[in-house]
């Protein structure tokens, strides 16, 4: 494929694919762990998304600009080190400026390292494409991750705690759905989310067996 001829088209396609058609969570079911674990409060979801987008963009720039220098055999280790370095930065920034969020997210911040979205994009896209496309891809995938996390978090926070970003939004006689705050609720919400998005986007169910 000649990238120079279709520069604009390719860029647009990259974004569209990342945000909707090949949505990382609903289509490929990647990065679900953090989407489940951190999505019961909107502020945690925002912090998590910001962290993931930052690490994704950083990784895309580093990996795609070094893609010709990285030997194929050790590429996985190189992704890991790049991602781990990015996550260390995120962790330290959160600890310094947002101690309460850092406290609430606890060990889930370092687990950004093993968020499959970042590894997946590095292997599928960054290693083969120049930096300008890789950044677009990173942003598109990061945004797709962020809006999914936000939708789930808004739903869970309103129904489970009756609040939105800590402000009470439900009527006074509202009974909290405690189950949504618990881990089990996360599974139900994301299961229904997958159901809706996969039906709307017309993604074929995986083959049996």
């Amino acid at each position: 494929m000649n990238l120079k001829n279709i520069f604009g088209k390719k860029g647009a396609k990259t974004i569209k694919n990342g945000i909707w058609r090949e949505h990382p969570i609903s289509s490929a079911t990647l990065g679900i762990c953090s989407a489940l674990a951190i999505s019961n409060k909107v502020e945690n979801a925002i912090a998590m998304s910001a962290g993931v987008i930052f690490v994704l963009v950083l990784t895309s720039v580093i990996i795609s600009s070094m893609r010709k220098l990285i030997p194929g055999r050790v590429r996985i280790i190189i992704y890991m080190i790049t991602i781990a370095a990015g996550v260390t930065i995120v962790d330290l920034v959160l600890m310094a400026y947002f101690p309460t969020i850092s406290e609430a997210m606890g060990p889930y911040v370092p687990l950004i390292i093993t968020n499959c979205i970042i590894m997946g994009r590095a292997e599928a896209f960054f290693i083969q494409n120049p930096p300008q496309h890789s950044i677009l891809d990173a942003l598109a995938n990061g945004l797709a991750y962020a809006y999914t996390l936000l939708v789930i978090a808004i739903f869970r926070e309103i129904f489970a705690f009756g609040t939105l970003l800590g402000v009470k939004v439900t009527p006074a006689n509202w009974v909290d759905w405690v189950v949504l705050a618990a881990p089990a609720g996360a599974f139900f919400v994301i299961g229904i989310f997958l159901w809706i998005t996969r039906t709307v986007a017309g993604i074929e169910p995986p083959g049996k067996g």
Binding site: C33, T88, L111, N115, F187, L194, W195
Partner: protein, 194 residues
């Protein structure tokens, strides 16, 4: 039972705070492999083995980093140790146990990016600060808990597939999430056991 006795650590990690159902971790392989009992068994065994190995190695690494005051490098070191261990296990198995390699070797590379491996390493060092024996018991029972959860969900999914009236959009990951949710609800019944 005493707060930090080995038995209470065992039950907490295996049932009450199950890594898959309480901490919601390891979901990528969970979804991909809960589709059949056979792959679930293979992956579970590989996870238990690798987790035992890496969390012991990382426990030692953590003490070294702590002594030298280089804790800022913790994440990078942990992930390299995990990647190296997995690579090593793969090579040893290929050389000496080809039969074993054929049965669960394909799951090994996946484990490097499995969040529960990194999570357990972090949990026994930074978060809980356990002693070596406690860390080993915690790691093995947490990994066994992951195996247990995956097996239960895979069994239900296989049965459900035989009936086969799951709505189209819900097939695959969707229904696995719902099954896991119900499983998580029932595991909540274990809380307060220790």
């Amino acid at each position: 039972m005493a707060e930090n006795s080995l038995l209470s650590i065992f039950f907490t990690a295996l049932l009450i705070q199950n890594v898959a159902l309480f901490y919601l971790l390891g979901m990528c392989p969970f979804i991909a492999l809960s589709r059949s009992m056979k792959t679930a068994i293979g992956m579970g065994a590989a996870v238990i083995f690798v987790v035992g190995l890496t969390s012991s190695a990382n426990w030692v690494m953590y003490q070294l980093l702590d002594m030298t005051g280089a804790l800022i490098l913790q994440y990078i070191v942990f992930i390299i140790v995990i990647a190296a261990c997995v690579q090593l296990v793969e090579m040893i198995m290929e050389r000496f146990f080809p039969a074993l390699q054929a049965s669960f070797g394909i799951f090994l590379p996946l484990i490097t990016v499995n969040c529960i491996v990194l999570f357990i390493s972090l949990k026994v060092t930074t978060v809980d600060g356990l002693s070596y024996i406690q860390a080993l018991v915690y790691s093995l029972s947490a990994a066994a808990g992951f195996w247990l959860a995956m097996l239960l969900v895979a069994a239900i999914y296989e049965k459900l597939n035989l009936i086969g009236n799951v709505p189209k959009g819900l097939q695959g990951p969707g229904i696995i999430m719902i099954i896991t949710g119900i499983m998580a609800l029932s595991f909540m019944g274990f809380s307060g056991m220790v």
